[in-house]
C-alpha cells in the first residue's frame, strides 16, 4: 500500500450517472486483486469535498487502474472535473479481496448499482481463469447497467433487472436465482451494492450450501484501519463483533455479515 500520484489517462461519462476513470498504473509494483479498493483524493485540500473517497476497482492490468463511479455527491462530482494528464493522489491497494475457491468452474454474481463495478473486477478475473460467470445485475434504470453488454460480449450470462422495468423486486430476483441454480452448477456466489440483495443471497447460499462472499461499502475516514469509522457487525460463534470494513473487509464471507 502506498499513496501514489497517478496520471489520468481518461475520465469520461458513460451514461447519465456513471463515469469511467482510467489512471496510469505503470508505477505500481504492488499486487492488486479484485475486491480491493483505493482511497482517492478528489480535490486538493478544498473546503468540500474534504475527505478522500474510497473506490473499488472495476478493471486493472499492469498499465492501468480503472474505476467506474456514479455521481453521488460532492466528492464524485469533483472527480468528474479531472481530465487527461491531471494527477490524482491514490492510496492503495487496500483491503481484503475476493477468493475463488479451488476447482471453481462457475460463479454467480448478484450486484446492484455501483456494486456492479466491484463485481466486474471479479468477473474479469474469473473469465481469464476460464471460470464461467452468470450475473444478475440490478439498477434503477437500464441506462445505469453500463457494463452489462461488455460482460455479455465476453460470453458471460447476464440477466438485467431494473426499477424502471419493475423487475428488480426481491420476488423476481429470487425467481431468477432459483432458475439459475437449478439449471447450472454454481460453485460460489458473490454480491455487492444492496443490503436487501445481500440478505436474499445469504438465504439462497445457505439453502443451497454454496460458498459466498459480499463486498461492503461505508463512508471512510482513514481507510487504513486507524479511525474505526467504517465498521460492520460480523457473527463470531454465538456473538457478534464490530470489524473494520477497510481492513478486515471490504470483502467478507457472506454468512458472517449481519446486514
Amino acid at each position: 500500500m502506498r499513496d501514489f500520484r497517478l496520471k489520468v489517462v481518461f475520465n469520461q461519462q458513460v451514461s447519465q450517472r456513471y463515469w469511467h476513470l482510467c489512471l496510469d498504473a505503470s508505477s505500481i509494483q504492488e499486487d492488486i486483486k479484485p475486491g480491493q479498493f483505493f482511497n482517492i483524493f478528489c480535490s486538493d485540500y478544498s473546503t468540500e469535498p474534504f475527505l478522500r473517497r474510497p473506490f473499488s476497482l472495476y478493471h486493472f492490468d499492469k498499465m492501468h487502474l480503472e474505476f467506474l463511479y456514479a455521481i453521488k455527491g460532492v466528492g464524485t462530482k469533483a472527480l468528474t472535473h479531472y481530465q487527461k494528464g491531471d494527477t490524482l493522489n491514490v492510496l492503495g491497494p487496500l483491503g481484503q479481496f475476493f477468493q475463488l475457491p479451488k476447482n471453481t468452474r462457475e460463479i454467480l454474481l448478484l450486484a446492484r448499482g455501483v456494486g456492479i463495478a466491484t463485481l466486474a473486477a471479479l468477473a474479469y478475473e474469473a473469465y481469464e481463469r476460464g471460470i464461467k460467470v452468470v450475473g444478475v445485475l440490478s439498477a434503477r434504470t437500464n441506462d445505469d447497467l453500463v457494463i452489462a453488454d461488455t460482460l455479455q460480449s465476453l460470453g458471460m450470462v447476464i440477466y438485467k433487472v431494473t426499477d424502471e422495468n419493475k423487475t428488480s423486486d426481491i420476488e423476481n430476483v429470487m425467481e431468477r436465482l432459483s432458475f439459475i441454480l437449478k439449471q447450472r452448477t454454481i460453485d460460489a456466489v458473490y454480491t455487492c451494492g444492496s443490503r436487501r440483495l445481500t440478505r436474499l443471497l445469504q438465504r439462497v447460499s445457505s439453502e443451497y450450501g454454496i460458498y459466498g462472499e459480499v463486498a461492503l461499502e461505508e463512508n471512510m475516514g482513514c481507510s487504513v484501519g486507524v479511525c474505526y469509522a467504517c465498521v460492520c457487525q460480523i457473527k463470531e460463534k454465538e456473538d457478534s463483533q464490530s470489524v473494520r470494513i477497510c481492513r478486515e473487509g471490504p470483502v467478507f464471507p457472506l454468512e458472517k455479515v449481519l446486514v
Binding site: R2, F50, L51, C222, V224, V226, C232
Partner: protein
C-alpha cells in the same frame, strides 16, 4: 540537511526530538507501512478503555465544510489486549510512547493509569478527560473544574510519569479547567479535543451521524483552538500541546506562536497519511527561511509581539 536547526522540545520531563505527534484516534498500526514512526516526536495510540467496547452505531463519520464530524465511541479491545499487544508493538520504536486513557469513572482512570504507567515502555500518559463520566451526569469529566481536579490529582497519586490532560473545548471557560488541571498536577495540557457538532441530511432529514452528534475536527476548528491555546498559555505555566485542524507546517507554527510547545495531528493524516512527516519538514523549512536556529524561539511569540506594541 539542516543540522544546525533544533526541533527538540520538552514536555514535562519528556524530551521530544520534534514537536509533532499524532492525535489519539487518528493514528495506529495500520499507518506503519506509510510512516516511519521513529521520525515522530512521540506516538499516541488510540484511547484505551478498561474493558472491550464495541463503539457507536454507524455512520460514525461525516464530512463537513473544511472538516469532519466523528462519533466512534472509542471502540476498544480493552486493557488486557492493550498490555499484551499494543504496548509491545510500540515498544519497538524509540520515540516516547504516550498511551491515551479513557475511563468511565475516576476509579477506572486511576486503575488504568497505575497499571499502564508500570510498563517500562510507557513514557507518559494522556488522560482523555473529554470522554463522558458515566458515574456522574454523563457530561465529560473535563467540563467540570472540580471533577477535573479530582481526577487528575487522584491519578497523580499513582504515577510519577508525565501526565498530559486532553481538555475538551466544549466548556464555558477552558482557562478555568486548564488551571484546575495544572493545580491537580498535570504536567502538560492538550488543547483540545473535538468540538461537539451536528449535521443533518436535507434529503433523508436524518442526522448524518448514527450517534446523532459527534466531534468536529479539521481546519474548520483551527481558529477556535488557536484562540484557546492563546488563552490557556496566558493562564498556566505548563507546556501546551496544540491540537485542532493543523494541516501543514504553517498551521503548526501558528499554534506554537499562540503558545503551544508541541502539536498533535489528527484529521490531516486521514487526507494525507504522511502529513505528520511533511509537517516536520515544513517546520524545518520555515525555521530556515526565517533564519531561526531553535524552534523554542517561536513558542508563544504572539504574546510578546502584542506586549511590544
Amino acid at each position: 540537511m539542516t543540522g544546525r536547526i533544533n526541533l527538540k522540545v520538552q514536555i514535562g520531563e519528556l524530551l521530544l526530538q520534534n514537536p509533532v505527534m499524532p492525535a489519539s484516534g487518528a493514528f495506529g498500526e495500520g499507518m506503519d507501512e506509510l510512516v516511519d514512526f521513529n521520525q515522530l516526536g512521540a506516538v499516541v495510540p488510540k484511547s484505551i478503555t478498561r474493558y472491550p467496547r464495541g463503539g457507536n452505531p454507524t455512520p460514525r463519520i461525516c464530512e463537513t465544510p473544511s472538516g469532519m464530524i466523528n462519533s466512534i465511541g472509542i471502540q476498544s479491545k480493552g486493557l488486557d489486549d492493550y498490555l499484551a499487544h499494543t504496548i509491545p508493538y510500540y515498544s519497538r520504536y524509540h520515540v516516547p510512547l504516550i498511551p491515551s486513557i479513557s475511563g468511565d469513572s475516576i476509579e477506572e482512570f486511576v486503575e488504568m493509569s497505575r497499571i499502564i504507567a508500570l510498563e517500562e515502555a510507557v513514557a507518559g500518559l494522556e488522560l482523555n478527560i473529554s470522554c463522558p463520566n458515566l458515574k456522574g451526569n454523563g457530561l465529560s469529566f473535563g467540563m467540570d473544574e472540580e471533577v477535573t481536579y479530582q481526577l487528575i490529582s487522584e491519578v497523580r497519586q499513582v504515577t510519577t510519569k508525565p501526565l498530559l490532560a486532553k481538555l475538551t473545548p466544549n466548556v464555558t471557560s477552558i482557562v478555568d479547567i486548564a488551571k484546575s488541571a495544572v493545580r491537580a498536577g498535570a504536567d502538560s495540557l492538550v488543547v483540545a479535543n473535538t468540538l461537539l457538532a451536528m449535521a443533518i441530511d436535507t434529503e433523508s432529514w436524518k442526522p448524518k451521524i448514527g450517534n446523532l452528534m459527534g466531534g468536529l475536527s479539521g481546519p474548520a476548528v483551527r481558529p477556535v483552538i488557536v484562540r484557546m491555546v492563546y488563552q490557556v498559555a496566558q493562564a498556566v505555566d505548563v507546556p501546551i500541546i496544540g491540537c485542532g485542524g493543523i494541516m501543514c507546517g504553517r498551521d503548526a507554527i501558528e499554534m506554537m506562536l499562540a503558545g503551544a510547545t508541541a502539536v498533535q495531528i489528527g484529521t490531516a493524516s486521514f487526507l494525507n497519511p504522511t502529513a505528520m512527516l511533511e509537517i516536520i519538514e515544513e517546520i524545518k523549512a520555515y525555521l530556515k527561511e526565517h533564519q531561526l536556529e531553535d524552534i523554542q524561539q517561536l513558542i508563544g511569540q504572539a504574546h510578546s509581539q502584542i506586549k511590544q506594541e
